[in-house]
């Protein structure tokens, strides 16, 4: 099973707090902009939920 991840890039301010919680999913690129993997294994669910929690802009969503 997989989970689908969506980041509202109109909200995202590239703070990168999510990177610490789910480093397999989120990263800052060389321009300090957020990049992410939109689909991941279920085993990442807890990490992604933690990333959702620490996003100052609350811009990260798991898509059903």
């Amino acid at each position: 099973m997989t989970i689908k991840i969506d980041v509202d890039m109109t909200k995202c301010q590239h703070y990168g707090q999510c990177v610490f919680e789910a480093p397999n999913i989120f990263r800052l690129n060389s321009d300090d902009k957020l990049e992410y993997t939109a689909e991941a294994d279920d085993s990442e669910l807890a990490n992604v939920e933690a990333a959702i929690d620490v996003c100052p802009m609350q811009a990260i969503f798991i898509v059903d």
Binding site: Q13, H14, G16, F20, D32, I52, P56, M57, Q58
Partner: protein, 407 residues
């Protein structure tokens, strides 16, 4: 079978939500009650002074935290304030007279803005910004040409000033310090923040304070301590906060500044020892952090409610699980203690600040990368030991400091 008393969380904001989620995640299946004085379910506060205030639509839906299935059965008691607690008899009494018995009590009541009292203590035209309702009220008062005076040059004052300016208001910040946010950022970075605000048209009256309000039925101006007057339609008080801890009065607990806790966020008894079933989380928790010096202090940064809520949620869930495995996990968790790396960020116009650590502890700081007028990174030291780092831009560099603090 005896009825299980609930875990009672007082305060239904971010910390309250996170502790409830963590209780469930770590296996607590008993009842949870969360009591909050605001009418709204938990929502995210940082956008209130920025995106929400700048937006066309200010509503709960734009800032509400998503509710997860695991916490669907939490009993949210909203629009009801905890008035008192009796820690010996394990009860909380609310403003409407209802009494809540608890097995474990978690204080997450947060802060409320300080307010000044003036000889001419007008209220019409006067604002603070802490709650969603505050933001809705302030948003309605802002617009092009509105004359705004912000009292206080901390993060909230500076961010609110920037947002009001972007909405076309004429904005003046009045504050007693030499530079905005100077106590935390240090003089160079603080002066640069001021320069950037001024370049966008925000005016500063530093080393000044407001001594009175001018007007009859509503505010028309403010009087400064040098005798000068500023015309003013909207007066915003952003001068810091009080802890909402009065409801814990008359208990064996230290609430002189927040709730004094041990390094696992258990409330400390003034008579010695700790309450094993009373915790504080979020802005009101005054906890020692051995990453720095083990001195108890409150930390009003956005990541603390979430991190403290998760720590206490796990701890309490394990306390309520009667297995040898849970006892071992509890012992391990408590030996690790709560040692968060404080983190904050601030957006003012095109300036994006990000920081880790406890910058205010520093006795020395230095520019280590970039240029002050552009993107840059500062390190903060106390007695030669790194206590913080902050940057404008250069996110990847600043992020590298998150794990740079060690006990």
């Amino acid at each position: 079978m005896a009825v299980t008393k609930p875990v009672v969380v007082v305060g239904a904001s971010m910390a309250g939500l996170r502790v409830a989620e963590a209780l469930r995640r770590f296996g607590y299946t008993g009842p949870i009650t969360a009591i909050g004085d605001e009418p709204h379910a938990p929502y995210n506060r940082p956008p209130l002074s920025k995106e929400v205030l700048a937006g066309d639509e200010v509503s709960h839906a734009t800032v509400a935290f998503p509710q997860r299935a695991a916490t669907a059965d939490v009993g949210w008691v909203l629009g009801n304030r905890a008035e008192s607690a009796d820690l010996l008899h394990q009860t909380v009494t609310a403003a409407d007279g209802s009494v809540f018995e608890y097995s474990t009590l978690i204080a997450a009541t947060g802060l409320r803005p300080k307010r000044q009292t003036y000889p001419n203590n007008l209220m019409a035209g006067r604002h603070v910004i802490r709650t969603l309702d505050d933001a809705i009220g302030l948003r309605a008062a802002l617009g092009p040409g509105v004359r705004v005076v912000v009292l206080g040059a901390g993060f909230v004052g500076c961010e609110t000033a920037a947002t009001a300016r972007k909405l076309g208001a004429d904005v003046t910040i009045v504050a007693p310090g030499a530079v905005p946010i100077g106590r935390i950022l240090g003089s160079e970075l603080a002066s640069e923040i001021q320069r950037r605000q001024e370049a966008e048209g925000v005016q500063f009256r530093m080393k000044r304070t407001v001594t009175d309000l001018i007007g009859e039925s509503k505010i028309e101006g403010v009087l400064l301590d040098d005798g000068s007057e500023l015309p003013c339609d909207v007066f915003i008080e952003a001068i810091g906060s009080h802890c909402n801890t009065e409801w814990l009065s008359d208990n064996d607990i230290d609430i002189t500044d927040g709730v004094l806790t041990d390094s696992n966020l258990r409330a400390v008894k003034t008579s010695g020892g700790v309450w094993d079933n009373v915790f504080a989380i979020g802005d009101v928790a005054k906890f020692p952090n051995e990453l720095f010096d083990g001195l108890a202090r409150r930390v009003e940064h956005w990541n603390i409610p979430t991190e403290s809520g998760k720590h206490v949620g796990q701890l309490v869930a394990l306390q309520h699980t009667n297995t040898p495995e849970a006892a071992a996990q509890l012992s391990e968790l408590m030996s690790k203690k709560f040692q968060p790396v404080p983190s904050f960020w601030s957006d003012q116009f095109d300036t994006h600040l990000l920081a880790f650590g406890l910058l205010a502890l520093a006795d020395e700081h230095k520019l280590v990368q970039g240029e002050l007028s552009g993107d840059c990174v500062f390190e903060y030291y106390r007695s030669g030991k790194l206590v913080g780092a902050a940057g404008i831009g250069m996110r990847s560099v600043v992020q590298g400091y998150r794990n740079a603090f060690t006990a």
